[in-house]
Every structure is written in C-alpha cells, then in structure tokens.
C-alpha cells in the first residue's frame, strides 16, 4: 500500500552502512516498504522507516523458512525457531504472523480472522500490518484467499490444496500440563511416550465423566507426534484430518513451528469407549443464514433479551446469505477416532523381552555383579577394591563410594532382604536395581552431597542382568535411557519409603494406578478402571476414596496405593524400599500382611530394603547385610538373625533386643 521503490538501498541503516556489503542482503524485488511509525493525525511529520518486503529482513526469513521446511517434513513435530520480535505483542499472534510474513509473495491474497471473524480488532490490526509492509491484497472470502491466518478457528468452508492455513498458537506443548520442564517434554516426544497426557484425559473422565479439555484437545499426527492443535474448538478438529491444504502452526513466544501437511491423519486422543463430542452449540441453527452443524456465537437480543445463535465464521455466514443455495460443508460431521489397532503398543516397545525363556527356578531372575556406585572420578587407590576407604570415601581423591563391588543373585519366587544401618548403601543398591541412578536423576546424589556442591558426578559401574531383559544376556546398566524407562514402566514394580517419588499427588488414586495400564497400551476406560479398582480394593483402599488424590491419604494408604500401582502391570520383580518406615505399628502390620499374602498367593519375587529386622524376618527368605557400601554377610534370614557371624551383624541383631 505504502510502496516506495528505493532500489539504491535494500537495507537502509545509516550508522551501520560502513560495514555492509550490500550485495549480501539483496531481497525480493529490491523494494523497500514504509511503515508509519506514528499516526497520520500527529502534528509532526510522520517518521517513516524503511523495511524489507513483509517487514522482516531476508536472513531472518530464510531462517524461519528452513524451520517451516523441517516442520512439513516431520508432521506434528515442534521445530524450535529463533522467533523474531514484531510490532505485534507476544501472545497476540506473532508466531502466525512470522509464518505469514515469510511465506507471503506478491501473488497471494490474504485473509486474517480472529476467533472466527475478519472484523475482530486484532485481525484488522494484523491484516493492516501485513498489507502495509507487503502490498498484498486481502479478502474476507475463504475460497478467494491463498493464505489464511487465523486465531482459534478453522474456516467452515473446506480448504483446497492451493490454500495455506496458518494458525496462531499460544501454548504449543501438549504435554506441558503434565510436565513443566521443556527438556523433559522434548525427551518424551523423542521416545513417543505419551502416557502422561492420556492419564490426564483419563483423570478428566474419572472426575467429570467426560473430557474436560474444551478447546486445544491434543491430537496424534499420522501415528507419531502428539500435537496441540491450538485452541480451536473440538468442532474444528475433524477439519485437520486428511485435509487437502497445508496447515502451519506458529508459536512466537514459545519459539516453535509445526505443521500438518496435506492428507495427513490427525486423530484426537480419545479412549475407545469415551468418544470426543462436538460442542453442542454446533447443533443450533443460525438466525441469519439458517446454517447448522457449524460453530455458533450466542446472540442476545438487546431489546427482548431473547437468546439466539449465529455463525461464528462471519464470512461464511455472509456468503450463505448472499448465495442462499450454497450447500453446507460435509466434512465436519464426525470427529475422527482411533481404530483399536492404531493405539496398540508397537511390537518393538518391549522388544527386550524377546529371547526370554520360561524362567526356571534355577536361572537367577536378577544377577548383580560387582556393582559400584560412586560420586567422583575415583583414583588408582580407590579403584582397587583391595584398598581400604575411610568411611565410604577415598582418602586420596575424596571420591565417595555409596556401593563398592556388590554382587548377589535373586531366584524366581524368592524374597531377598537387605539390612544395614543408615548410609550403608541399602537404598542406593535398590535404586541401582530400579535403574533410578543416573546423571539426569541426581535425586540420590543431592541427598548424599550438600546442595552447594557443583554438579555431583554419579558413576554406576558393574553388571546387572534381569532374566526378562534379553533373556539375561545383556547388562541392563548399558541399556538406552528409553529401554530403562520402559523397564521401569512395565517390568519393575518399585515402592518407595517416600510415596511422592512414585505417585502423582494431584491425580486420583485411580488415575495413579491406571497410568501404568495406559503405559501398557490399554485405551479402554472401562477395562482400565475395573482393573485398577479391583487392585485398589485388594490393597484395602475404600471404594469411596479412589477418586481422591493421595495427598489426602494417610501414610499407610499412600503405601498401599503405591503397591497397587507397582503391581497393576503384573511385573516379574517388586522392589521395596523401607516401605513401612515411619508408619505406626498397626498400619505397618497391615502393609506387611498384604505383602506376605501377595508373596504367598502370587509367588512374587521381591527385594526388600529395611533397617527394621522384624520386617526382614517376616518377609525375607534370604538376607544380605550391608556395611559402608559393601555386603559383609549373607545367608538364610533365620541364620543371619539367629546366628550372626560378623561382629557388625552381631551388633545389629543385639541392638534389636
């Protein structure tokens, strides 16, 4: 519109000119565009400054276009991009606007809508900015536009292959509600681990009887990435599935671009037996054009107060009023849903269980060999296990040994007790078996070393084999992070002293237990809730409390919910860390009774850590005694407790009496 041809300078910045090689920065048509920085009514001369075609400099546009190409190549994947600051505020559509500015050309016709209408103040403001800086014509008719930038709506008129839809996105991360850390959510996407978001949907159903997401319901894009479709209503979700057009999503503040290319599957996450429904407002009839099956605004007559409805897509409504015989769009009748095969866990998910033979009682279920956990690099002195340490740590290099050269076996159906005083390495051993010690999960390192210490270096060495991991042929400590997480999710039941380590205190007990079933691949609400309720009943959680979050539960109840959660996938191994510590005696007795009963009835293999010798005597077949990170005595439990050989064990047993 305010097009001024100034071919001499593609970039006109006087105080930087000396350092420009102008030819490096040539761009489209060599034209520059003027922006009125102040309004016409200003009594001063308007201060215009010159910009490239469509505002952004060409190098920035190139960077953004590369992100777009990547996004189109990996449907639904959020591509980080270096989001530029624009004259429109963050949160007001800067992501969408950057996409429009970098994809628009002289041949385009632009339509901008905000919440369904072309005349919304923000749509007008964005449209004006784009035309001022590019000179591209605009339209309100969806069918005439080549680029449509929209906030929170997809037009009712079906889009064609030659049209580009750009949606503005406030919060691009569908997992954010489950996990606040960006580093973690990126890892979950990489691993395709979406149990968290399914669990939140299940919790909605547990608490409200239906999905509580309203707009921005998460979708699975072509069977791979879970994506936030931006806050479009549920009614619009069907328009993304197998659409003929390319849809680009831009989140300027969060610096992400993603895409749904033409003819891509876009399926909202929904359980088989609880389908996602359109907003009921789509069942109304438009008072102006008579349409129904489209998204409506509520209209209240200012005189009579009478409530009626009109199309939210105002251009669509206007077109219909001028062309009364135009047909209603057909594509949006049903929200697409998964067939049962599509959500089945891929065969590769638990590929490491291949080669598993029927565990015989002669093959150890767990074989730990020379397991060492140390904080620090170690040195020539302390790496030799024959050399003495001073209270866990090397007198020469200061490396702390939480475990030093620990070896043992566990046979199927056996219960192994681990005893020792505080700091002897019992819990570290259990955490090593639970694959919970690594650089990223430095929880234990923090407990061992003051918080002011710079990045404690945790080193887990040795060899741990599980019969259910590659048939006991591979060292599980060398497994990938992803394999470790899958083992934790499905094969290892872990119960901690502190229930917050395994339970989500803000989700219901029912959802906490069912989450594991979701991980297993179940997508049937009724089956999942039945199984979880049955198990919670078995651990004596009263039925009227299963919808409550564990933060409202007593310590004993929390432990029982943890046990239910650990058992629901029927894991081959249960790891228990001081599960009765801190509970009063009657509660202790009920938890122990439960465990003993489970052991007897299910032949469960367990490793149980406790400083309480009563617990060990009651549950453990065999017992290890630990002292300063090493096993100093092992044998049958009765033998250890009744006839201890080592002075420390004698002291430990005597202190009991």
């Amino acid at each position: 519109m305010h097009k001024a041809i100034d071919p001499a300078h593609s970039v006109n910045v006087s105080h930087q000119e000396d350092f420009t090689r102008q030819e490096d920065f040539t761009h489209q048509g060599n034209a520059t565009y003027l922006v009125n920085a102040t309004h016409q009514v200003n009594s001063h001369e308007p201060r215009d400054f010159k910009t490239s075609f469509a505002y952004l400099d060409e190098l920035s546009k190139r960077a953004i276009r590369r992100a777009v190409l990547k996004a189109v190549s990996i449907p639904g994947y959020q591509v980080p991009f270096s989001s530029r600051e624009l004259p429109i505020a963050r949160g007001w559509g800067t992501g969408g606007l950057q996409l429009t500015l970098t994809t628009i050309t002289d041949d385009d016709t632009l339509k901008v809508i905000d919440q369904g209408t072309d005349e919304s103040v923000n749509a007008v403001s964005i449209k004006k900015f784009i035309t001022q800086t590019s000179g591209v014509p605009t339209t309100i008719w969806t069918q005439e536009a080549t680029i449509i930038q929209s906030r929170h709506r997809i037009p009712e008129t079906p889009l064609r292959e030659d049209q580009l839809l750009i949606l503005q996105v406030p919060l691009p991360e569908p997992l954010r509600r489950y996990e606040p850390s960006e580093a973690m959510t990126r890892r979950y996407h990489a691993e395709g681990k979406y149990d968290g978001i399914w669990t939140l949907l299940l919790e909605d159903i547990i608490q409200h009887g239906h999905y509580h997401t309203s707009t921005d319901h998460p979708v699975l894009v072509h069977g791979r990435y879970v994506m936030a479709p931006s806050p479009i209503p549920r009614h619009d979700l069907a328009k993304l599935h197998q659409a003929a057009n390319l849809t680009l999503f831009g989140a300027g503040r969060e610096k992400k671009i993603y895409a749904v290319p033409p003819y891509t599957d876009v399926i909202p996450l929904a359980f088989f037996d609880v389908p996602l429904e359109h907003e009921r407002i789509t069942e109304k009839t438009c008072r102006l054009c008579g349409a129904s099956g489209v998204y409506m605004d509520t209209w209240i007559d200012p005189q009579t107060g009478e409530v009626s409805y009109q199309c939210n897509d105002t251009a669509f409504c206007l077109w219909r009023r001028n062309h009364p015989n135009s047909p209603l769009p057909q594509s949006t009748k049903n929200i697409p849903s998964f067939s049962r095969d599509e959500t089945k866990r891929p065969e590769t998910y638990l590929s490491f269980t291949e080669g598993e033979k029927a565990p015989s009682s002669l093959t150890p279920l767990v074989r730990a060999m020379h397991v060492t956990v140390r904080y620090g690099e170690g040195c020539a002195h302390c790496r030799d296990k024959m050399h003495r340490l001073e209270h866990h740590s090397c007198p020469y290099c200061g490396t702390i040994y939480a475990l030093r050269d620990v070896s043992f076996d566990l046979y199927p159906g056996e219960v192994l007790g681990i005893v020792g005083e505080s700091g002897s390495g019992k819990s570290t051993l259990l955490n090593a078996l639970a694959l919970a010690i690594d650089q990223k999960n430095a929880k234990n390192a923090r407990a061992a070393i003051p918080a002011s210490h710079d990045h404690p270096h945790v080193d887990v060495r040795g060899d741990i084999r599980f019969a259910f991991y590659h048939g006991g042929q591979k060292n599980v400590l060398r497994a990938s992070l992803q394999e470790k997480r899958r083992l934790q999710d499905v094969m290892l039941g872990v119960v901690y002293q502190d229930a917050t380590q395994s339970l989500n205190m803000h989700l219901s007990a029912l959802a906490n237990v069912s989450e594991k079933l979701i991980t297993l691949g179940l997508r049937d609400v009724r089956t999942m809730l039945e199984r979880s309720k049955a198990l919670l009943g078995k651990v004596q959680i009263p039925e009227e409390r299963v919808k409550q979050p564990p933060r409202l539960f007593s310590g004993g109840m929390r432990q029982r919910v943890q046990i239910a959660r650990a058992l629901v996938t029927e894991p081959p191994l249960l790891l228990l860390d001081e599960v009765t510590t801190g509970l009063d005696l009657t509660v202790q007795a009920s938890v122990l009774d439960l465990l003993r009963h489970l052991h007897l009835s299910e032949q469960l293999s367990m490793i149980i850590v406790s400083h309480d010798l009563h617990v060990i005597r009651m549950l453990a077949d065999r017992t290890l005694v630990m002292f300063e990170g090493q096993i100093i005595e092992e044998g049958m439990t009765d033998q250890i407790l009744d006839d201890p050989q080592k002075p420390f064990t004698q002291k430990l047993v005597r202190s009991l009496l």
Partner: protein
C-alpha cells in the same frame, strides 16, 4: 446489493490510535528527546538493556512514543531491531580495559588500583528535593561550571587531584583471591557460544545462553528472582567482589581483512556498562564429612548503569549452576522462560483479546459436567 460485512473493528482501531496520540499531547507540550537523554539516563539504560539494543536516541524516541511505559518502549525497540540484518559481530570485550566512572568492592577495603565511588545515590538521604520543580537550564549550567572549576583546583588537599585522565583498572579484584582461598573454576562460555537472537533456545542452555537471557531480562523480574534466593527460597548471600561501571570500546573486524596488516578492526563506538563479580562460598566434600572451602564467582553484566540488576544477575548466574529442587530461582527453565519483558507482558496482555470461541467451548464443557453429574 445483498449483505455486506461490518467494518466496526477497523474504525474503532483508527479512532483508538488517534485517541492515544491525543492523550500523549493533550497538555500541548512535547518532550524533547535530548532532554530525556540528558535527564533520564538510568531509565534509558534500562530500556536499552531490556531491548538488547544500545542506542540512546532511539531509546528516547521509543520512551516518548510509549508515553514513558518501559515495557512498551522495549517492545518498540525490539520490533525495530527485527527489521535490521545482523551485519557484524564485535570482537570480545575486555572489561579490564574499561574506562571506569565507578568501581567498588564489598570484599576487600584495599584493592589493586583502589575503590572509586563515582556518582551514586547509595549514601544520599532519600529526601524529596522539591526545589527540583523550579530547576532551570541556567541552574544546570551554573552547577556544572562550578563543579568543573573545583575539579581543576583539586577539591581536597588530602586526596590526589581529581583529573580528567581515564581511570583504567586492568587488575580485577578476583585476582587477589587465589592467595587466600581456592576459586572454583567455571567452564568457559567461549566454547559453546550461542546467539539466542538468531538461534532458538534449547534447554539446558550453555552458560553463554543463560547469561544472554539474564542480561536482557526485565530489571524488576531479575531483581525479584534473585531477592527470593537471598531472602528464603535459596540460601545465597554473596559478597560483591567487584562492581564497575564505565565505558567499553566496541570494535568489529574488518569485512575486508588485509592479510598483510594482520588484525584489522574498526572502532564503532563506546557503550556504558555495569559489570559485577560476586563471590559465593561453596565446598567440596571429602571423606568423613571433611569440607574443603572454596569460592565461586557469579557474573553480572548489563548495558548502562543498573547496579541492582547486574548484582541480581550475578546471583542468578551462580544459582542456575547449582539447581535445587526446592528453590524455583535456581531452576533454569523457571527463571529464563519468565524474565523476558516482551514475552511476559505480551502474554499477560493477550488476555485482553477476545476469547469468545474458546470461552463458549469451555462453557459447553462445564455445563456438560453439571448435566451428567460426576459419575466415572
């Protein structure tokens, strides 16, 4: 003729713009930008720092256009910056070569080169000086003439004459430390230098990325997060090793390097900056609970003279290297995602946009719950 679209939105925006300009000018006075540069240097400093754009005249225009609202002024400058290509990268700055106007240490009384108070309100009594309402340009000229004359004479016989030679302190206070206690080495940011105005941030960030986001963070937010660390949500009480304010000269390498002449660089100007190094006690734990004490350094640096922000930044620099699950200000994503002026104020302000569609969908979800009851 048929039905036509309403254009209410467009007219409303036009009129709102007119009204905005009217509200800026309705007293029929226009503030000269050179008066703003002269009279409000610290506010200009804040704007430039948060905008990541060092240009006093442009910052003054932005502030004038924004009617004095800092977040709006920063917004204008950042948006302007997006129209410009990156033409060159300056050579690394050496703050030890700073032409100092102020330099203090809270760690040692005697430091190499000495302390130099400069102009600071730190020890003034904050009594509102109502005479300033009457101050004129003539008063200003008179004061400046008298002060310059005093400087010529030397103002205190017991002190050295204040001269106009540049004050340069090549030695940093931290150089005094190794003789006293061990200083913990921090990985050099040089190896992993990233520019977050050109590359997207990927967490966890290298230290260079964290320092960039901290230095352009909103002054109030940076100070608030650091204060939380100091007060109760953290256990930090650093000692300011050295705070220096002064001019640094920027140079860029020649785009046409001359191989025969070696390093060919152009001076492109000076910037006023604040630099802070704070010392934090830390410890290495050895066997049997024995601790080896050490000091770590937190680093703060920002455009202009903004001492609280620079000190706060140095605290956050240290805290982010020592994450603690209980203290939000030690968590990288919590701090760095939320301190940017533009992102925070923009997303808050977007709540003013219409949410008619999303709200209708929300109402639909809520009323469905009422109808069905709460059966799972």
């Amino acid at each position: 003729m048929g039905y036509v679209a309403t254009i209410g939105g467009e007219i409303a925006i036009e009129e709102a713009l007119k009204r905005l300009t009217y509200e800026r000018l309705k007293d029929e006075r226009s503030l000269a930008t050179q008066d703003m540069i002269a009279g409000m240097p610290r506010l200009i400093d804040i704007i430039m720092s948060e905008a990541s754009l060092y240009d006093r005249p442009l910052a003054a225009i932005a502030l004038k256009q924004a009617q004095g609202l800092p977040e709006e002024a920063v917004f204008l400058l950042r948006a302007y910056r997006s129209t410009l290509p990156r033409l060159a990268t300056t050579q690394p700055l050496q703050p030890s070569s700073m032409t100092t106007i102020r330099r203090i240490s809270a760690s040692f009384k005697e430091i190499p080169g000495g302390q130099f108070l400069g102009g600071t309100p730190d020890y003034t009594h904050r009594l509102l000086d109502q005479k300033l309402a009457e101050e004129t340009h003539a008063d200003a000229q008179k004061f400046v003439a008298a002060y310059r004359a005093q400087c010529e004479e030397g103002f205190d016989p017991t002190h050295d004459r204040i001269d106009t030679n540049p004050l340069i302190f090549p030695e940093k206070v931290h150089a005094m430390l190794p003789s006293i206690q061990a200083v913990k080495k921090v990985g050099s940011p040089r190896n992993a230098f990233i520019d977050l105005t050109r590359e997207p941030p990927k967490f966890p960030l290298p230290r260079s990325g964290r320092l960039q986001l901290l230095t352009r963070g909103q002054t109030g937010a940076v100070i608030a997060f650091a204060y939380a660390l100091q007060r109760s949500f953290g256990e930090l009480h650093p000692t300011v090793g050295e705070l220096r304010v002064g001019q640094l000269t920027l140079t860029v390498p020649s785009p046409w390097p001359d191989e025969t002449e070696g390093d060919d660089a152009y001076t492109i100007g000076d910037i006023l900056v604040t630099e802070v190094e704070t010392f934090f006690p830390t410890a290495n734990l050895h066997g049997s609970g024995e601790k080896e004490h050490a000091l770590a350094i937190g680093y703060g640096f920002c455009f202009g003279q903004n001492e609280s922000k620079a000190i706060a930044m140095s605290m956050l620099d240290f805290a982010l290297r020592h994450p603690h699950p209980e203290y939000p200000s030690t968590q990288e994503e919590f701090v760095l995602y939320h301190i940017d002026t533009l992102e925070a104020s923009g997303f808050i302000a977007h709540l003013k946009l219409p949410h008619y569609v999303t709200f209708a969908s929300l109402i639909d979800t809520l009323s469905k719950g009422e109808e069905k009851g709460h059966d799972a």
